[in-house]
């Protein structure tokens, strides 16, 4: 039966509409995996000698045990954000004579083969071997330790499974957990209740009595069973349908009326952003990246390189532009045929997208004004960067967008989600940032700062003045690509 499931997955991968892209992505991921394996292996080998060097009087194993809990917590956080849980499309299988438990077991066992479970081995095994060879620990003791620690890693795997299943729908429910963890961390830091030390002692206990290494393994089996029951309980279509009937949010965005003929589209786009997971995240990201300047402005190393501040300025004022704009018109993929057949001219459609992004640049530029604290020249540069974004980068992005023909599922979270990304998306980010940096660098080096800032602002204003003709050009481009887009947006799947 498991063979059949694997066969199904194989077919779904190789017959998906965007095989070329998924394959390219997989190869890229394999390279990443190799890179991380090498890094972990290197670290695993170097860990023992390094600890010996930094803490000559301490026993490396004890140091490691002491930090183990922190490592596991970090692992859980990373897994939560990055690890995609194996999914199997259960709907077509539900009515077939296949036992539920088989399907559930398949999903759970498949998660064990995840790369995230192999990676820790590169750390644990070399370190364990070092402890036996150099640290004088008995091999049985270290085998017990390795078994124990690796079992805990697998526990993290299944705990992540449970957390994800339970909380992805409702991230707010995680807050108490996060607060709890924070309190424990604080107590530990203040040396009131040193949970990491106690955890370290438990691991130490395993080293002394290697048979105790089976306890975490039993815990793994227990968590496996828990997951099994959990998933079996969800093996109904209800579980998918339930909760979907959330009350619709009917915010009106009435203020958009002021923008005249593009108002309905603007309203439309705001609803798009507000009501769907993926575009909504671009908003949060924009606010997070606003703080980006704090890393660069106070740092002395960058003071001699103002070209770096161009990068920051373009980034801060244009983060929404980059995140949202590069997927125009893929955001509208699921109803693109309607947009094309309705009484909407291509010009209006593009003008509204431009309007929305321009608006975001203005807002972010205003929000970035407190950076004047770091000097007037930074404020001026940021304004110049905002102008450059509005005048030059927005048309460039929309032009790049005309190469889009991949659908985006609005409801998926953007973390490690490459849906809708093609080679052009990876490339488009570069000229947006590099060209202004290059101009600025040249002018700043050979003339002066003010001229360089003025030049960027000038380019931006020129772009704004020329916008109508740029729009005409873009409209022609989009009309030409229309059929390819409609065709491409129809293809669902990975």
């Amino acid at each position: 039966m498991f063979g059949k499931f694997i066969w199904l997955e194989w077919k779904s991968f190789f017959r998906s509409a965007s095989l070329g892209k998924s394959l390219g992505l997989k190869i890229f991921m394999i390279f990443l995996a190799l890179y991380f394996s090498a890094m972990f292996l290197f670290f695993g080998i170097a860990l023992y000698p390094m600890l010996k060097e930094f803490y000559p009087e301490a026993d490396p194993l004890q140091v490691v045990n002491r930090f183990a809990l922190i490592y596991f917590v970090l692992e859980l956080v990373f897994r939560f954000m990055l690890q995609t849980l194996p999914v199997l499309d259960i709907k077509p299988l539900m009515t077939f004579p296949i036992r539920k438990r088989k399907v559930v077991n398949f999903v759970l066992l498949k998660s064990l083969y995840s790369f995230y479970n192999i990676l820790p081995l590169f750390l644990i095994i070399p370190f364990g071997v070092f402890c036996i060879v150099k640290g004088g620990y008995g091999y049985l003791n270290m085998l017990g330790w390795m078994l124990g620690v690796y079992s805990i890693t697998l526990c993290v795997n299944f705990i992540n499974f449970i957390i994800k299943k339970r909380f992805t729908e409702n991230l707010k429910a995680l807050i108490p957990l996060v607060i709890g963890a924070g309190v424990l961390a604080l107590l530990d830091y203040l040396e009131i209740f040193q949970i990491t030390a106690y955890f370290g002692e438990l691991l130490q206990l395993i080293v002394q009595n290697p048979y105790l290494g089976f306890i975490p393994l039993i815990l793994v089996i227990f968590l496996f069973k828990w997951n099994q029951l959990n998933l079996e309980g969800k093996f109904y279509l209800d579980a998918h349908l339930k909760g979907r009937n959330k009350k619709a949010n009917t915010r009106e965005f009435g203020w958009t009326r002021k923008f005249g003929s593009i108002a309905p589209f603007l309203q439309q786009d705001l609803k798009l952003i507000w009501r769907n997971k993926r575009p909504k995240t671009t908003i949060y990201l924009s606010f997070i990246f606003l703080a980006y300047g704090l890393i660069f402005y106070p740092n002395d190393t960058y003071q001699e390189m103002p070209a770096f501040f161009v990068f920051v300025g373009i980034f801060i004022t244009g983060i929404f532009m980059i995140n949202f704009g590069q997927f125009v018109p893929s955001w509208d993929a699921s109803y693109y045929p309607m947009i094309m057949a309705q009484n909407i001219s291509m010009r209006q459609y593009l003008a509204s997208k431009m309007g929305l992004i321009t608006f975001s640049v203005v807002v972010l530029a205003i929000l970035s004004t407190p950076y004047v604290y770091f000097g007037w020249n930074i404020l001026l540069l940021n304004i110049a960067c905002a102008l450059y974004n509005m005048g030059v980068n927005i048309p460039v992005l929309l032009y790049a967008g005309s190469f889009n023909k991949k659908r985006i599922d609005l409801d998926k979270s953007p973390f490690m989600n490459y849906q809708g990304t093609g080679a052009s998306q990876w490339l488009v980010g570069l000229p947006l940032l590099l060209i202004p940096i290059f101009f600025f660098w040249i002018l700043n080096k050979f003339i002066n700062y003010e001229i360089a800032v003025g030049f960027l602002a000038g380019l931006g204003i020129m772009g704004l003045v020329l916008r109508p003709s740029l729009l005409t050009f873009l409209v022609r481009r989009y009309r030409k690509r229309k059929y390819v887009m409609i065709q491409g947006f129809k293809e669902k799947g990975e």
């Binding site: 979907r244 009937n245 009350k247 619709a248 009917t250 108002a263 309905p264 309203q267 439309q268 609803k271 798009l272 009501r275 769907n276 699921s334 109803y335 693109y336 045929p337 309607m338 094309m340 057949a341 309705q342 009484n343 909407i344 001219s345 291509m346 609005l410 229309k482 059929y483 409609i486 065709q487 129809k490």
Partner: protein, 234 residues
């Protein structure tokens, strides 16, 4: 109103549509019938400039659809759920379409009152997004939205599929009334009874070719049934 000349569409060497000449006069209730793969949706997609013809042209009120967007203001359509915006509520969707067709909120509200029966209390004021409605209710929304703004041409692909019997009967009445106001209505259907009841003219497509072009009369239903069962009888 609508003229297709020399129209053909080829996919990977297979000709899926081949219409030498088709003329649909204004105000006609026009029905397109054919088995799966006959080219019905292809024809509608060409008419809406969603795909490009391999040869020939379609003119909508003398406008070449693949060259100008001028046909959009007086043409509306519902082909499939890709014409709906899933994250809007039905009201918002109607208002949005209304704005595209120069109808304000009040216009839309009064327009919608005539469909209260059709909606059966399941669509307006339920605070549900379109993506959470059932297939049948989604279809109702799409069809009604296609009637907003008094379009001169209405194109509906398979309007009867997925609808409950009561709604099918209501829709038939609605479509008949629509053609009385001079609107050109193009529909496709697999249901021969519905299509003969609603349409004044029925064109049968087979693998992309027009094989029959009938003015609907009492005998039409039998003629169509004979045509479609010819292979089974042999």
């Amino acid at each position: 109103m609508i003229t297709a000349t020399n129209l053909s569409k080829v996919y990977n060497g297979t000709r899926v549509l081949n219409i030498e000449h088709l003329d649909i006069p204004p105000g006609q209730n026009f029905g397109l019938v054919g088995n799966n793969g006959a080219g019905k949706t292809t024809f509608f997609s060409l008419l809406l400039d969603l795909i490009q013809p391999t040869t020939g042209n379609i003119f909508n009120k003398d406008i070449t659809v693949s060259e100008s967007e001028e046909w959009k203001p007086f043409t509306s359509s519902f082909i499939d759920e890709s014409f709906l915006i899933g994250y809007l509520t039905p009201e918002e969707y109607f208002y949005f379409i209304g704005e595209l067709r120069n109808r304000n909120k009040a216009d839309i509200d009064s327009f919608l009152t005539q469909f209260e029966d059709l909606f059966n209390g399941e669509i307006i004021g339920r605070k549900k997004y379109l993506r959470d409605l059932s297939k049948g209710n989604q279809k109702k929304v799409g069809i009604v939205a296609a009637l907003i703004g008094d379009p001169e041409v209405v194109i509906l692909d398979e309007p009867f599929a997925n609808l409950d019997p009561t709604t099918q009967i209501r829709l038939k009445k609605l479509l008949k009334e629509l053609s009385k106001t001079g609107t050109t209505v193009l529909i496709s259907s697999h249901d021969l009874i519905h299509v003969t009841e609603v349409c004044e003219r029925i064109v049968v497509l087979d693998k992309g070719d027009i094989v029959k072009d009938i003015e609907t009369s009492e005998a039409t239903l039998n003629e169509l049934e004979d045509y479609f069962s010819r292979e089974i009888l042999e």
